[in-house]
């Protein structure tokens, strides 16, 4: 293998890793930090891509410009889902974990059905974006611009989430609500407000991911399922209770995938990711940097 091929391998791995991390960002908040299972994460991503696509049909703007709008719509959607579904699931005193899994799993199926109803199962894509179909090449290493842009957005998104959780009362309140959602009322915290905000934020992060993804990926009712498992594995590899873990894990997952596509065969490249996860949790049962 030539040097440039290896460089390309690493660069591509890291780039796709950043995209995985970006997609996992919202999940790392909702699932990782708030400890609420969201089996519909993939469908959230799918929805946000359709939101971007819908806005694009109306406004004919670059998806990157539409990103704030998508994030906003998704935040509202996150609050809506929290209020209608998740809140009730969290109220369950027995089998709490399973209720969350299956309430959101049911939600996922419903969302997929709704997408099919409203958008038909046709594949759609957006070609009008400043970054679309552009590639820069440095010393024989090709770096697709849409993915570079997504990578930068990913880093920014994690920085923003991290500061928000680490530096604000909101972050503390979110963790406290996760720890004991009843006891937080003792200190004047409205758990539903805090968690609804958490979901808004998580969904907005998915919105950002969806908008970026729409610049280079097709939109389809089933698109979420493609990314969902990797997103869960990424969050768990990073460790629960630590946002930045997901970023690190995303990069690692991307890199390992890239390498195992070469070492094994491409059809088995996910085996590398799976092995990475198992190895991580066997050595560190709480993931790379997990606290929970």
């Amino acid at each position: 293998m030539t040097i440039s091929a290896i460089a390309q391998l690493v660069a591509s791995g890291l780039l796709i890793g950043l995209i995985y991390a970006l997609i996992a960002a919202g999940l790392s908040l909702i699932f990782g930090l708030m400890d609420v299972v969201n089996f519909a994460h993939g469908e959230f991503l799918m929805t946000s891509m359709y939101v971007t696509f819908g806005l694009y049909l109306f406004l004919q703007l670059d998806p990157i410009l539409l990103m704030p709008a998508t994030a906003l719509v998704m935040a509202a959607f996150g609050i809506f889902i929290y209020r209608t579904v998740v809140k009730r699931a969290l109220a369950a005193k027995v089998n709490a974990g399973m209720v969350q899994i299956f309430a959101t799993f049911g939600l996922a199926i419903t969302m997929r059905g709704l997408a099919q109803l409203f958008w038909t199962p046709e594949y759609r894509s957006i070609k009008d974006s400043v970054v679309a179909d552009k590639t820069i090449s440095i010393a024989g290493v090709f770096l697709p611009v849409p993915q570079l842009a997504a990578g930068v957005v990913c880093l920014l998104a994690f920085l923003a989430l991290y500061l928000l959780i680490q530096r604000t009362d909101f972050g503390r309140a979110l963790e406290a609500t996760r720890e004991d959602s009843e006891a937080v009322s003792l200190i004047g915290i409205d758990r539903h407000k805090i968690f609804a905000l958490g979901w808004a934020l998580g969904a907005a992060a998915v919105g950002v991911a969806g908008a970026m993804l729409a610049t280079f990926y097709y939109v389809h009712p089933g698109v979420g399922a493609t990314f969902a498992l990797i997103a869960y594995v990424t969050v768990a590899t990073g460790g629960f209770g630590n946002l930045l873990g997901a970023l690190a894990a995303g990069l690692l997952v991307g890199l390992v995938e890239s390498v195992s596509a070469v070492v094994l065969e491409p059809a088995l490249k996910q085996l590398g990711i799976f092995a990475l996860y198992l190895l991580t949790v066997l050595l560190r049962p709480r993931g790379l940097f997990g606290k929970l």
Binding site: R88, V94, N95, M98, A115, Q270, L271, A275, V281, G287
Partner: protein, 319 residues
């Protein structure tokens, strides 16, 4: 029970028999899942692995050696149980979501391996050749009744096994581990072997179910017997019916399978996703309205009748 034995004779519709067979199969599979997930609290979303192992073992034994699927069921179940022990050994130290995701990942990994393993047919899968009606080979041209009775026997057997175990030492230990492992240990419960027993039992019967399924469909490929959806389908009835209860998986399967089959059959042809909306909505509604499962309705009812005593406080002896 009597009703279940005689019922199919009154039914001529193949569709309904198909649905009944699937319902019983999933009642059994879900009961098997319930042993480890519901009673012992080790949530596995990777039971499709054991299902697939059972299906492949019996099918390969049949196509390569001409062995009867009945034999294949036992061998398949045993291999599945052995695999469960092998996997449980490193995995049972994991907690919560880490464990759940590990089970998913292992099953998905196995799916990939089976797809690129030519000896087991890879993605092409394996056809089970039809050799004429035979109980030994568990093959029937168009008859559904034999399958119905096998499925009924399977579900009943699992119910019985769970019933027996639940009332005994293992059942107590499993539920204790689920509620509080540290306390269980302090009472002499050896956590690891107890979990392993649950895992082996669960995997064995899941494997048996897989072998039956292969015979019933007469064609298997990795995607159709080891897919993540199958894992979910085994979990769903127990959760919606009532986790860690005897009747939960049965009741859950009796609601879910007919609904999912009928919605697909009668509104799935539209291609508009209405069946998905309906099915998904139903799961969501049950999960949210009755978190302890549908059998919780029955418990509510009996409880209300038993506890007609008006006030707890007034029963206390005054000092």
């Amino acid at each position: 029970m009597g009703v279940l034995v005689l019922l199919p004779h009154a039914i001529s519709s193949v569709t309904i028999l198909n649905i009944l067979i699937l319902t019983l199969l999933y009642a059994g599979l879900s009961q098997a899942w319930n042993i480890l997930g519901g009673y012992c609290g080790q949530i596995s979303l990777g039971n499709a692995l054991y299902f697939g192992i059972g299906a492949y073992t019996s099918t390969l034994l049949l196509t390569h050696l001409g062995a009867s699927p009945w034999f294949g069921m036992v061998v398949g179940g045993t291999i599945a149980a052995g695999l469960a022990l092998l996997i449980g050994w490193p995995l049972f130290r994991l907690k919560g979501h880490y464990f759940v995701i590990a089970t998913i990942v292992i099953a998905e990994g196995a799916l990939l391996l089976f797809q690129s393993w030519p000896w087991v047919g890879g993605t092409l899968g394996i056809y089970i050749p039809f050799l004429g009606d035979s109980w030994t080979m568990l093959q029937f041209q168009t008859a559904k009744l034999p399958f119905y009775y096998v499925a009924l026997g399977y579900a009943a057997l699992l119910w019985l096994v769970t019933y027996t175990v639940d009332g005994g030492k293992l059942g107590h230990y499993w539920r204790a581990i689920k509620d509080n492992p540290e306390a269980a240990q302090s009472l002499g419960v050896k956590i690891f072997p107890t979990k392993m027993q649950a895992a082996a039992l669960s995997a064995f019967f899941t494997g048996v179910g897989g072998a039956f399924y292969a015979q019933f469909v007469s064609y298997i490929d990795p995607e159709s017997v080891m897919n993540f959806q199958i894992s979910l389908l085994m979990t769903l009835p127990a959760v919606l019916g009532g986790l860690g209860t005897l009747w939960g998986p049965v009741v859950g399967a009796a609601v879910l399978i007919p609904v999912s089959e009928l919605t697909r059959s009668y509104i799935g042809g539209s291609g508009q996703g209405l069946d998905l909306i309906f099915y998904g909505g139903l799961i969501m509604v049950i999960a949210l309205l009755k978190p302890e499962g549908i059998v919780g309705l029955w418990a509510d009812f009996t409880r209300r009748r038993r506890q007609s005593r008006p006030s707890l406080a007034s029963q206390k002896v005054t000092p």
